[in-house]
Symmetry: C2
DNA sequence: TATAAGAAATAGACAGTGCTCAATTTGTGA
DNA sequence: TCACAAATTGAGCACTGTCTATTTCTTATA
C-alpha cells in the first residue's frame, strides 16, 4: 500500500508535469529566440525553478534541446497528417506533402531550423524515444510515396522516399535560411514540387518498361 | 614622402598577415573540433596574440566565423573547378559536379557543416566580399548546367541550377549529418545524381516539345 | 507519534565563453 | 632624441553549462 507518486519535496509539479513544463517552455524559448538564443538557465528562470532542476530532469542542455526537437518533429508529423486528411484520398497528396514540409518550416522557422542545426556531442546519441518519435515523419512520407507509385512499401520505395525528402529538404533549407532570396529565387516550394514530380514520373516510366 | 604602410608597433606580422594567420588558424580549429568547439579565445591562444587583437581585426566572433566560412566556400569552388578540368570537356561533367559537392563535404565535414550551421545575428548581414566569394560556387554550377542543356545562361537556367543545387545539398546534408545512415541509406550520392539527371532530361523533353 | 531514511530541489562554485576599454607598449616621423 | 599615434594587451563584466554539497520535504518505519 505504498504511494510511489509523490516522493519529492515539492508538490507544485509531479515529475511528469515538470518534464512537460520544461519541454514546452524550452520550445517556446527556441521559437522566440532561435537555437543561438537558447539557454537552459533562461528556461529555469521562466519556470521558477533553479538550473539544477533542469539538470536533474534532462541531464544535459544538449539532451534537453534534443527532446525539444523530437517534440517539434512530432508536431510536424501531426500537421502533415492533418493536411493529408484535409485533401482526402483523391486530392493532390504529393503537393500536400511538400506544402506540409514547407508549411511547418514557414510557421515555426526557429523550431524547424533548430532541428537541423543542433548536433549532439559525439558520445551521446539520441534516445530510443527520440529515434522513434522522429521516424514518424519518414514513415508518413514512405506510405504516401508507395501509394503514389502504386506499390507495396519495400526497400526500393523507402529509398526513393528518403531521396525525395532530401530533395524537398534542400529546397526548404535554402528558402528558410534566406540563402535563396539572395539568389533571387521566387518559388522554392514550386521548384521542389517540380523535382519530386519528375522523379515520380521517371519511376513510373521505369516500372512500365520492366 | 610619407610611408603609410608600417604604422603599427609589432613587426611580427603586417595587418594582412595577421588576418591570414587568424583566418587559417580559425579554419583549422573548426576543422578539428567543429563549430561547437570553436572559440575566438582559443584562436588567440594558438597564434600567441591576445583576445583583443582578434576583435580589432574581425570585430566579432560571428564575423570571424563568417569569414572562415567564406574561405571554405572558395576552397570548395576551387576543388570543383579542378574536378571539372580533370574530367575534360567530353567527360561526365554533371557527375563531376555532384561528386565535387559531396567530395568537399566528405573531406572536410566540420568545415562544410559549419558553413550551413552558422547564423549571423539578425542585424549584421554578410560583407560584400563574403557575398561575392560565396557566389562563385553557384556561378560554376549555373555555367555547367547551361552547358549541359545547351542553352545560354538566362534566368530560367539559373533557377533550374539553384533547384539542382538544393537537391544535391539536401542529399549531402543528410549524408554528412548521419541522419541518412540511421535510415539505412547506402548511396546518397548516387540518389542525388539520379534526381539531377531526371530533372535535366525532363528539361530536355520540355525544350524539344516547345 | 516520533524518527530515520531518502529523494527532489537548491545554492553556489568552477571553468569556460564573448565583448569592452583604459592602460600600455613600441615603431615611426619630426 | 622626442613625441605621437597606432597596435596590443588583459583585467573586468555578464554570461554560459556542468557538477557537488547541502537543504528541505515526504514517506516509511520503529
Amino acid at each position: 500500500m505504498t504511494y510511489i507518486h509523490f516522493m519529492g519535496r515539492r508538490s507544485d509539479h509531479s515529475r511528469a508535469e515538470l518534464e512537460e513544463l520544461i519541454l514546452s517552455t524550452g520550445s517556446t524559448l527556441i521559437a522566440e529566440t532561435g537555437l543561438a538564443g537558447f539557454s537552459a538557465r533562461e528556461v529555469a528562470r521562466r519556470i521558477g525553478y533553479s538550473i539544477g532542476t533542469i539538470h536533474n530532469v534532462f541531464g544535459t542542455a544538449d539532451r534537453l534541446v534534443a527532446a525539444i526537437n523530437t517534440r517539434s518533429f512530432k508536431d510536424w508529423a501531426a500537421s502533415l497528417r492533418e493536411r493529408l486528411n484535409a485533401v482526402g484520398p483523391d486530392g493532390d497528396r504529393i503537393a500536400a506533402l511538400v506544402d506540409g514540409y514547407f508549411g511547418f518550416a514557414r510557421e515555426h522557422p526557429h523550431l524547424w531550423t533548430a532541428i537541423f542545426d543542433h548536433r549532439l556531442p559525439p558520445d551521446g546519441g539520441l534516445t530510443e524515444a527520440d529515434e522513434t518519435g522522429r521516424a514518424l515523419l519518414t514513415r508518413i512520407v514512405v506510405e504516401e510515396i508507395a501509394r503514389a507509385v502504386g506499390c507495396e512499401v519495400d526497400d526500393e520505395v523507402a529509398a526513393l522516399s528518403r531521396s525525395l525528402i532530401a530533395t524537398v529538404h534542400g529546397h526548404c533549407s535554402f528558402a528558410i535560411s534566406g540563402a535563396w532570396s539572395l539568389m533571387g529565387e521566387a518559388a522554392p516550394e514550386a521548384a521542389a514540387l517540380a523535382r519530386v514530380r519528375e522523379a515520380l514520373s521517371a519511376w513510373d516510366v521505369c516500372l512500365t518498361q520492366s
